[in-house]
């Protein structure tokens, strides 16, 4: 993947496992993106969305410490921001209204997630 394909893109990372969050952040940084977060909880993620201008895209872990990520997803929908899920849950556990959201099962291949982000972002901002 080309370096800087995500240059100038602001990506929100919500992930409650430190090491995995770090992998994602480093991967995004390598592609030139600037990371918002990472946020380990719904509360932290909503605070970030409140205090900063909306991101261009978001990567959301579904099951977080203290509850599921859906309030963040709903806020992103309101802001018109696209996102994808990384999850250790079964597909059945995700409510029907989020079925259209791209989903990556843990453990994820970092390159697959980054590639998906790149495609989504390029599609949104040609």
């Amino acid at each position: 993947m080309d370096v800087d394909v995500l240059a100038g893109q602001r990506i929100l990372v919500v992930e409650d496992q430190y090491a995995i969050a770090l992998d994602l952040c480093e991967g995004l940084n390598r592609l030139g993106a600037s990371v918002i977060g990472p946020a380990p909880s719904v509360e932290d993620a909503l605070n970030l969305l409140e205090s900063k201008s909306p991101p261009d895209f978001a990567v959301l872990d579904v099951k977080l410490r203290g509850g599921a990520v859906y309030p963040v997803a709903d806020r992103l929908d309101e802001l018109g921001v696209r996102y994808l899920f990384t999850t250790a849950c079964e597909a059945d556990d995700i409510p029907a209204r989020y079925r259209r959201v791209p989903r990556f099962d843990k453990p994820v291949r970092l390159t697959s997630v980054l590639d998906a982000i790149r495609q989504q972002v390029v599609h949104t901002h040609p």
Binding site: D16, G66, P107
Partner: protein
């Protein structure tokens, strides 16, 4: 016709013919009847050789009185009369036709005699047979109404006695043949008809006894079945086409206290709810009993929630099947309700446990991948990296193993497991109240302790024979939150300052604890040895399991 020809006719006809003379006393009363003339057939019918001038009393004994009345009437009126009479002495039946001979003052009556014994005996036998048949039918009806074997036998004897018109004796109880025989007089000589009668009476009594015994057995068996039905831990009911119960057991009364199936009982419909496979609610008209009354069989049943009087909803399995009449029309339904609440709740618990396990395994794998990648990035010889990696993976595996056995991990056990054999060379002290960490906190803390212990083995107190003290306590913070504060303290060393760089191990403590547990962590290298401090909030179900120790609990020593 001349005299000879009459005589010839007289002698050859088959019927007995005789002429009787009425003998009267001075006052005109009939005193005797004398035979004046008889033909050959008369002699043959009576078996006598000569009767002329003999009195009727001698010829046909027993008929005298009757015939005197008839003959005087026939002589007086001239109207012929017929009689049928039994003559005991000959054991024969005779039919006699009496006709006056001559005019109004005649003293002669002609008698035409016929032996009708054969026909008469047949008639009598038939009547006896009819009477016996009637008796047996009556016996049958009477015995059928009885259900005690002893009573049946006694009643059969009583009826036989009544039929025979004898006084009878009770006979030996239980021996039917003897009981019945005893109804005849002692030393009685039985006729073939009586033997048949005895036989038939005994047969009917025996049948009645057998039937009574079968019915008793059936009643007992029905009683047992009824008991099973009533005490079965499954609700069972038979309902009519209108949905009313005609039979229901105790367990079913729990679910149908009004005795009407919910689909036909608006007052109780809202107690029941269920869902079709597509998630739509089941309408009362589609409840199992309603469907069965439309001819459908619902087996083994549909899972439905039933709201009890206490407001609690329990899971049930409701099955139903139609009952048909002889014409094949639905006449009612059989309904079965099973309380499967405990089963369902256990199922749900298992599903949750399985779900949690899957989630943890996937997260653990993701963590493994990340740790491997990160460790490889730190650089160094392949051999050294392999050793570090092995230690970290073992730590991750150890905590997963502990978590697979229980819902949480005891903090002291976790610390001792991580230190393992390394502590032999160092003076080790562990202090703190009992505390069970939830999986998340256990994962973070076990790797943190691992990193501290492996650092101490390579560079610190364990390698240089210093001391390691691990202590923790629970403290109360703002907003009444409780925090666990754990201190790792190495002592007794004399280290050159600045000889150690901050590596991945330190990062896994200082940054992961705040990130994953919402806490704080600091690692500080002093000249006497390393000091690490970790603190994070204790939240039931998230970082801690069960009762938290009180904040003022003194550290154990």
């Amino acid at each position: 016709m001349d005299e000879d020809r009459y005589r010839s006719l007289f002698e050859t006809i088959d019927a007995g013919f005789g002429i009787l003379e009425l003998i009267q006393d001075g006052r005109g009363r009939l005193t005797d009847l004398l035979f004046r003339e008889v033909n050959a057939s008369f002699l043959r019918h009576t078996g006598l050789t000569s009767v002329v001038d003999c009195s009727l009393r001698d010829v046909l004994p027993g008929l005298e009185q009757r015939w005197k009345e008839i003959c005087s009437r026939v002589a007086r009126t001239g109207a012929a009369e017929s009689t049928e009479s039994f003559v005991q002495a000959f054991d024969r039946w005779y039919r006699a036709r009496h006709t006056r001979i001559g005019g109004a003052d005649s003293r002669h009556v002609a008698v035409v005699l016929e032996d009708i014994s054969e026909r008469k005996h047949a008639e009598l036998a038939l009547r006896a047979a009819q009477e016996r048949q009637e008796f047996l039918l009556h016996l049958n009806d009477t015995l059928r109404a009885l259900d005690d074997p002893g009573e049946i036998q006694r009643e059969a004897c009583r009826m036989l006695r009544e039929y025979l018109g004898t006084s009878g004796a009770p006979g030996k109880e239980g021996d039917l043949a003897e009981m019945l025989t005893a109804q005849f007089p002692p030393h009685h000589e039985f006729t073939p008809q009586e033997v048949v009668l005895l036989d038939e009476t005994a047969e009917r009594a025996r049948t009645a006894v057998a039937r009574a015994r079968t019915e008793t057995a059936l009643r007992e068996s029905e009683a047992r079945l009824a008991l099973v039905f009533m005490t079965l831990p499954i609700g069972i009911a038979v309902v009519t086409r209108g949905g009313e119960t005609v039979m229901l057991n105790d367990e079913m009364r729990r679910f149908l206290p009004t005795g009407i199936v919910p689909s036909r009982d608006p007052s109780r419909q809202n107690r029941w709810r269920g869902q079709h496979a597509d998630g739509r609610s089941i309408e009362p008209g589609d409840f199992p009993a309603a469907r069965a009354l439309r001819g459908e069989s619902i087996s083994p049943g549909i899972e439905m929630l039933y709201k009890q009087d206490d407001g609690r909803e329990i899971w049930t399995l409701v099955g139903s099947a139609p009952l048909h009449d002889h014409d094949g029309h639905v006449s009612g339904a059989f309904v079965v309700v099973q309380d499967i609440d405990r089963l369902k709740r256990a199922d749900a618990r298992h599903a949750t446990l399985l779900h949690d396990l899957q989630h943890r395994v996937r997260n653990a794998l993701a963590m493994f991948c990340s740790i491997v990648t990160r460790t490889m990035q730190t650089g160094g010889s392949v051999e050294a990296l392999g050793k570090v990696l092995e230690g970290r993976i073992e730590s991750l595996a150890r905590v997963q193993a502990l978590l697979s056995r229980a819902a949480g991990v005891d903090l002291e056990t976790l610390i001792r497991d991580e230190l393992g054999e390394r502590t032999e060379a160092a003076a080790l002290a562990i202090f703190g109240p009992q505390l069970t960490l939830a999986p998340k906190a256990a994962e973070v803390l076990s790797l943190a302790i691992h990193e501290l212990a492996s650092n101490a083995s390579k560079h610190g107190a364990i390698r240089h024979h210093g001391s390691v003290t691990v202590r923790w306590h629970v403290e109360l913070r703002a907003n009444r939150t409780q925090w666990l504060r754990l201190t790792w303290l190495e002592d007794g060393l004399k280290l050159e300052p600045g000889i150690r760089r901050r590596g991945l191990g330190t990062e896994l403590i200082e940054r992961r604890v705040p990130y994953e547990l919402g806490g704080v962590a600091h690692v500080k290298l002093r000249a006497k040895g390393l000091r690490a401090e970790l603190a994070f909030p204790l939240i039931a179900g998230e970082t801690v399991v069960g009762d938290r120790p009180r904040a003022d609990d003194a550290p154990r020593s």
